[in-house]
């Protein structure tokens, strides 16, 4: 197929796709089952040739407002419920140095398993003056996103897989959440504690080891959250990290985050065998 026809076919496909309009004039661009809401956000931005303000709102709460023109993101004019938005908000025109922070904002507002809406309006500050901004195509390349989609996207995600903090009943049963992870790890997890969330204060193992872990977490919790965020696709995402000399012998450290809860523990011996099944138990 001629590459030049791809944007035309993509636009036709977009026009043929059923649109759900919301009260107040917004429209749903990504359903909760969509595997890649960020891709939908970028495709909407890429369809905007004339200068417009696009306000993206997640059903989870955060929102992000962009000035867009000529398939470029000119600037960020508002961000609600998104961390570290100040860098982009403070830029009159987005430049290459802002792309990583901008992508984090995209990932924050276009969260998996939540609807994403867009509301279009007159361009914000700066009027319709010509600005350079960041090309949508560049951001799409960084995220390995194909902007010109001429066929329906891949299979939808299953909503039942949503990662949510466990209920009190599930915690009591020890079947899910970080307690479920600890239970599924079995005796290899020789000491652990959970801080935060509904499972806060749960511990097991020798008191001396648990006390050491507790002291570390008291001092380093913020730094640990930052380390998890750097290693996650989106800030606050569920993550489990195991660090060891070999992972198969000796001891390893395990840190995990699920919602507001953090587990810190010590694994003795083989840290590879039960780990994946245990993590699936936590996400269940």
């Amino acid at each position: 197929m001629n590459r030049g026809t791809l944007p035309i076919l993509a636009r036709l496909h977009s026009l043929q796709t059923a649109t759900r309009i919301l009260p107040g004039g917004g429209r749903v661009i990504s359903e909760a089952t969509d595997r890649n809401p960020v891709a939908q956000l970028l495709r909407v931005a890429n369809e905007t040739m004339l200068a417009r303000s696009l306000r993206f709102v997640s059903s989870a709460g955060p929102s992000l407002t962009l000035d867009v023109a000529g398939r470029r993101i000119l600037r960020v004019t508002d961000a609600q419920g998104l961390v570290d938005a100040e860098i982009c908000l403070g830029a009159e025109v987005l430049e290459d140095e802002h792309k990583d922070e901008l992508i984090k904002l995209f990932q924050g507002v276009a969260a998996l398993r939540h609807e994403l809406h867009v509301v279009s309006g007159p361009v914000g500050r700066g009027g319709e003056e010509v600005s350079v901004g960041l090309p949508v195509a560049l951001l799409a390349d960084l995220l390995l996103i194909e902007l010109n989609v001429t066929e329906p996207d891949e299979d939808p995600v299953e909503i039942v897989e949503e990662v949510a903090p466990p209920t009190a009943e599930e915690i009591a049963a020890g079947e899910t959440g970080l307690s479920g992870f600890a239970a599924a790890m079995g005796p290899a997890l020789v000491a652990w504690l959970i801080a935060g969330g509904a499972e806060d204060g749960r511990t097991d193992g020798p008191e001396e080891m648990v006390s050491h872990l507790q002291g570390f977490l008291d001092d380093e919790r913020d730094a640990l959250e930052r380390q998890f965020d750097i290693l996650s696709a989106t800030p606050g995402e569920a993550i489990c990290m195991i660090l060891g000399a070999t992972l198969v012998e000796g001891h390893s450290i395990v840190g995990a985050r699920l919602g507001p809860a953090i587990l810190l523990g010590v694994i003795e011996g083989d840290a590879t065998t039960a780990t994946l099944a245990a993590w699936k138990a936590a996400l269940r």
């Binding site: 990290m241 060891g244 001891h251 390893s252």
Partner: protein, 123 residues
């Protein structure tokens, strides 16, 4: 066997491996990669940065304090598993891998350990 060929044997043996890359952590560079997952240079750069972050504080410090310097990390998210392995003899040499949750983790870790050793010793 060259580096790319060595990485290719890992992907061939483990279809759940989406990407296997050989990195120089000291220069923050992915030197070779293979696998079915399409990538850009920026994506590989980020993967290399994540490998460095996984061997950084605060969890690195906790591990060193408790058991000694770690050379392996496994990071599980909602959709994928990333495995970062550093060479025992040349800590800047590392393998960075992205796999599906269905990967046989014990067998995979053993395979990439031997692969990394062969690459490091050959270099």
């Amino acid at each position: 066997m060259g580096v790319t060929e060595s990485l290719g044997t890992v992907v061939k043996a483990f279809p759940q491996a989406r990407l296997v890359a050989f990195a120089d952590l000291s220069s923050r560079m992915i030197l070779a990669s293979t696998g079915p997952q399409s990538t850009t240079q920026e994506y590989l750069d980020r993967l290399c940065d994540q490998a460095r972050t996984s061997f950084d504080d605060p969890l690195f410090a906790l591990s060193v304090e408790a058991f000694g310097e770690p050379n392996a990390s496994v990071i599980m998210g909602p959709d994928t598993v990333r495995i970062f392995l550093r060479s025992d003899v040349e800590p800047a040499d590392a393998l960075c891998c992205i796999c599906d949750h269905g990967i046989d983790l014990p067998a995979f870790v053993a395979k990439i350990r031997s692969t990394l050793e062969s690459i490091t010793h050959a270099g």
